[in-house]
Structure formats: structure tokens, C-alpha cells
Symmetry: C2
Subunit: 174 residues, 2 copies
């Protein structure tokens, strides 16, 4: 949808405070009220932007192996946060029940099952992993960390390993 791509471009260029219905309309060469036929509401527009981010996430095929798929997903979320730093934090504020959020959850859940984690532990392990990854990516792209990018690369990899050890416990070789 063209409205969403115009809105995303605006947010990327000027932050959420530059993202107004009127500015989107201006960029599309149209009257503000014309948008309401396509998007319903400003809240719906923000929800739509979050979905665009999640839809952009590259999904590696099953050939990658569970560890590779988890790593790709984490790296993808981090890259998305860097590409769209103003929109990304909204991920933490909306219920994870949209198609995009469910898709991410399914990838993580499947990988954890394939790693041998008992079904009873999959849900909480998935929440722990995605909470950390999204929190890290949002913190980094929002400037909360003071460390440089190279240091954060290493730290993110280290934290991922530690988190998997912690979550998989004796289900994995430690």
C-alpha cells in the first residue's frame, strides 16, 4: 500500500514527530482526508508500519538448521531496527498478535523445538529470546547504549549464545 510506504519514508527521514497524516498526504500529492479511505486512523497507520517492518524480515529456509535460523532472525531484527529506528520501538508496545508477529514467533518456536526443547518450555523461552533481541535492537538503534557498533556486534553474538545456553539448559550440549 502506497500510504504505508510514504509514511515509512517520512518516519525514517524525520522521526515519528514528523509523521503526520497531513505530511503523508502532502507527500502523496493528495488531500489529508483522502487517506482515511485507505487507512482508517493514525493508530492503524502506525500498526501498519510495524507490519511492514516485520514483513521485510528475511526468513531463512529450513535448510539453515535451527541455530542458523535463530541467528538469521535475530540479525534481521537488528538490521531492521537500524534501518527504521523510529518505527521499530513500536514493536514493544503492541500486542504480538498481528500476522507479522505470529510469523516471527512461529520461526522461533519451531527452531526451539527442533533444538530439542520440551513443548512445555517453548513459550517462555520464545518470550525470553524475542524480548531480549527486540529490546537490544531498540536500545541500540535508539542510542541507549554508549558502546560502539563493533563492540555491540560482539556483545550481541555473545549474548545470543549465553541466552541459548540458558534457555536450552541440559537439552543442549553445554
Amino acid at each position: 500500500m502506497m500510504v504505508l510506504t510514504a509514511a515509512l519514508a517520512l518516519a525514517d527521514e524525520g522521526g515519528l514527530e514528523e509523521l503526520s497524516m497531513r505530511a503523508v498526504a502532502r507527500r502523496l500529492g493528495v488531500t489529508p482526508m483522502a487517506l482515511y479511505r485507505h487507512v482508517g486512523d493514525k493508530g492503524a497507520l502506525l500498526d501498519g508500519l510495524v507490519e511492514v517492518l516485520l514483513a521485510e524480515l528475511p526468513m531463512s529456509g529450513a535448510s539453515a538448521g535451527w541455530r542458523g535460523r535463530l541467528g538469521d532472525m535475530a540479525a534481521g531484527l537488528r538490521a531492521t531496527a537500524r534501518r527504521h529506528p523510529s518505527v521499530f520501538p513500536l514493536l514493544l508496545l503492541r500486542p504480538a498478535v498481528t500476522p507479522g508477529a505470529l510469523r516471527v514467533r512461529a520461526v522461533v518456536d519451531d527452531a526451539l523445538r527442533e533444538a530439542g526443547l520440551p513443548e512445555s518450555e517453548v513459550r517462555r523461552a520464545e518470550r525470553m529470546i524475542t524480548t531480549f533481541v527486540i529490546g537490544f535492537a531498540a536500545s541500540e538503534s535508539g542510542g541507549r547504549f554508549s558502546a560502539g557498533p563493533a563492540e555491540l556486534d560482539a556483545e550481541f553474538a555473545w549474548a545470543g549464545d549465553r541466552l541459548l545456553e540458558a534457555v536450552l539448559g541440559e537439552a543442549w550440549g553445554r
Copy 2:
């Protein structure tokens, strides 16, 4: 400062979208422009609110032991998120260099040192822990999780233990 308490009350009652300079002024029985003598800017007002949240955090004395102090800090952050769900997520978006943020970091760093973690690992361990705790609290209070509060209580405790095992590694008894 009275401006900040009025602003916090507004945000708690109606969310960030109800928080305007004009509404704060209305609540204080004053003209909007009067605020600018006290707070400089709407951005500064939001920063001030984050600092109020961090200042509210109860700090347990050294008598608690490092594990107790970490647990208290995590519980305190989570309680703060539930009390002020609209303001809390701003914590993830601002550089952690304000007095309040430094205070939290100092508590975590000291506890980790006392637990025997080598100085070279303290910084990244602190980032991992606070990122997870703040991400979890923001997710929970923002409604991202679908689980109920009792389940999340247990999960938070479990995740805290796992995270400490992961971060302290052989520096701690596992």
C-alpha cells in the same frame, strides 16, 4: 517539580497522547506559556518524566546481598512499568546517561562485581541484564505478552535466574 507531577498524572490517566503542554497547564490552572519558564521544552518534559520514574525506584541497602539487590532492582523496574505504563517505554529510547540511569547501572555493576564477575565482563553483563529487564517490563505493561500476570511472575523469576547463570558463568556456582 510540580510541572512533572502534573504531567505524570496526565500520562498515567490518558496515555502519552493526552499529555500536552496545554493540558499540563490546564491542570495547573495556568497559561501554557508559563510552563516554558520551568521546563524548557516538551522533549525536556519527557526526559524529566523518565527521571521521575527512575528516582521512584526503591534502592535496597548493601545489607541485602548482591543477589537480593539485583532482584529488588528488577522487581522495582517491573512495578514502575505497571504504575506508569505509558512513560516507561521511553526508558528504551533515551541514552542511559542521565543521573537516574547511571544510578541503576551503578547498582547492577556493583552487584555483579560483588558476585565475582571480572571487571572486563561487567559492562556487557549489565547491558544484557538491564536490556532484558526493561524490555520485559515494557512488553508486559504495554500488553505485548498474551500470558496472565501469575504466569509472567514465574517466568520473570525463571528468566532472572537463567540470565544470571548465563552471565556469571563459572564465576558463580551452577
